[in-house]
């Protein structure tokens, strides 16, 4: 058996690498990883949770999926004012303790007020009745609306990092006839985007939560939410009782 000079050179290099003590080798690998992450950015990591979609999506209606996605309301209001869409759909969310006791209006009502304040005609806003306890319920509610409106298409506005998860939820909750009529548009948070999220605390938190939610949705499917008694009196009396 003959060895080419190139093979001998590789062999020599391997030998010299083997001679480097293990801790130094480990540190070297970490250094290479850090340099590659810094130079190539965090885009490959974001690609795991973000759905690439042409913007803006082409649909007659916009549905705001995340109740606390402020930027989604702004995007929807802009489209409505430009007459690019016919209407905005809002799902009804489960009212919890502070809503039930009247400290704040229901989330969909807050959203409607926000859109009206941004110049959207109140007739263009449609609140879909039927309380949704989680995002899967929202998917089913959108499916029902699409079945009731067979010629309409919907653009679902959600947080950018939640877009792949929403795609998965819609794949499971919409039917074969309604799914092609829904497109997903991820809206970027003003504080960070898919390449700069790791520089901000909020970005890291959002990315981490999105990864956990996506993995859970993919591995487990729909989350089972327990039925909760939202009475303030009960919570207060339990608070003074024995600790958990």
């Amino acid at each position: 058996m003959t060895f080419s000079p190139r093979m001998l050179e590789i062999g020599r290099m391997r030998d010299s690498l083997r001679r480097v003590p293990r801790p130094y080798r480990f540190l070297g690998i970490i250094l290479v990883l850090v340099i590659s992450v810094v130079s190539f950015g965090m885009s490959p990591l974001s690609a795991m949770i973000v759905v690439v979609q042409s913007k803006p999506c082409n649909a007659e209606f916009v549905c705001i999926a995340d109740v606390d996605c402020g930027q989604c309301y702004r995007v929807a209001a802009e489209r409505s004012k430009q007459h690019a869409i016919q209407g905005i759909l809002l799902c009804t969310n489960e009212s919890q303790r502070i809503v039930l006791m009247g400290a704040i209006p229901a989330f969909e009502e807050l959203g409607r007020q926000k859109l009206v304040n941004d110049g959207v005609a109140s007739t263009a806003i449609e609140i879909l009745p039927g309380e949704c306890r989680n995002d899967w319920d929202q998917g089913r509610r959108i499916n029902r609306w699409l079945e009731e409106n067979p010629n309409k298409r919907v653009c679902l506005l959600c947080d950018l990092f939640a877009s792949r998860r929403w795609s998965l939820i819609l794949d499971h909750t919409l039917t074969a006839t309604t799914r092609p009529r829904v497109t997903i548009e991820g809206v970027t948070d003003p504080r960070y985007n898919e390449t700069t999220w790791w520089r901000r605390r909020m970005g890291i938190k959002s990315y981490f939560n999105s990864i956990v939610q996506l993995v859970y949705a993919r591995c487990h499917g729909e989350d089972v939410i327990p039925v909760v008694d939202w009475s303030p009196e009960k919570y207060e009396s339990a608070a003074l009782g024995s600790r958990q």
């Binding site: 801790p23 109740v67 606390d68 402020g70 930027q71 309301y73 702004r74 919890q96 303790r97 502070i98 006791m101 009247g102 400290a103 704040i104 807050l110 959203g111 007020q113 926000k114 304040n117 948070d189 003003p190 504080r191 605390r201 890291i204 938190k205 981490f208 939560n209 956990v212 939610q213 859970y216 949705a217 487990h220 989350d223 089972v224 939410i225 327990p226 909760v228 939202w230 303030p232 919570y235 207060e236 009396s237 339990a238 608070a239 003074l240 024995s242 600790r243 958990q244």
Partner: protein, 266 residues
Amino acid sequence: MRAGRIITSRRVKWTIAVVICLSAIGMLHKPILISLAHWLDVGESPRKADYVMVLPGGVERRPFVAVAMVRAGLAKGIITDETETDPANDEGLSPTSDDLLRKVLRLRGIRDDQIQVLPGHANSTWKDAIALSDFMQEHPQATVAIVTDCFHTRRSSWVFRRVLGAEARRVFFVSARLDTVDPNSWWTTEEGLITYLSEYLKLFFYVVTDRTVIASSLAIGVAVGLIWSLWRRRRLKQKPTKPSGESESRDSSTIESSDQSIVSIP
């Protein structure tokens, strides 16, 4: 041949160790995960204090514990701190955390003179602790019960102890239980996973970015490195050197014996 045997036995040992570890984790995962959740909760039972401080956030739970304590006569007033606005507040989608908290407290029958909002635009537990530190300097005898979510008590007590120093003995933590997540089965729900995993992530960041922790880790790292290199040097010195030509003689003896055997066959 001998080297091959050593590698194989090492592999077998490693495989057995991994299998044992995995089966132990499989059998004990439930108690481990439950204890991970309970480890984060260092809250005490509600007892008498001059004030109750409600940390910003968790408005569905935290203010109600404070209200219960005031109503039971365990505290005379409720304090909280001003918070930084987030995009949802700026967009008018929700009131700021301190506004909402005040509203909830009023609706639950707490008078305005019983509520005190500490100045400062807090956006982290560190800033909450700084705000309380200023308050405690103005009230040198006051004791404070700090109410926060059960999973948040360990991190916040760690932060408050760092910021308050010796004054930390005048505060204690009371846990607000979660409505939708059970600490005994948190890993089975999406919300539970997010709550507890992100809390561990935050705790990790808080600990690794702490100057004292960084300095002590560096010191330990250097010490371990020095001990390791000394041990390695000593071991190399102690290693008995092979007598020269040992392997050669062994090889030659083999050849001789084989030659003899070849010779003896006929």
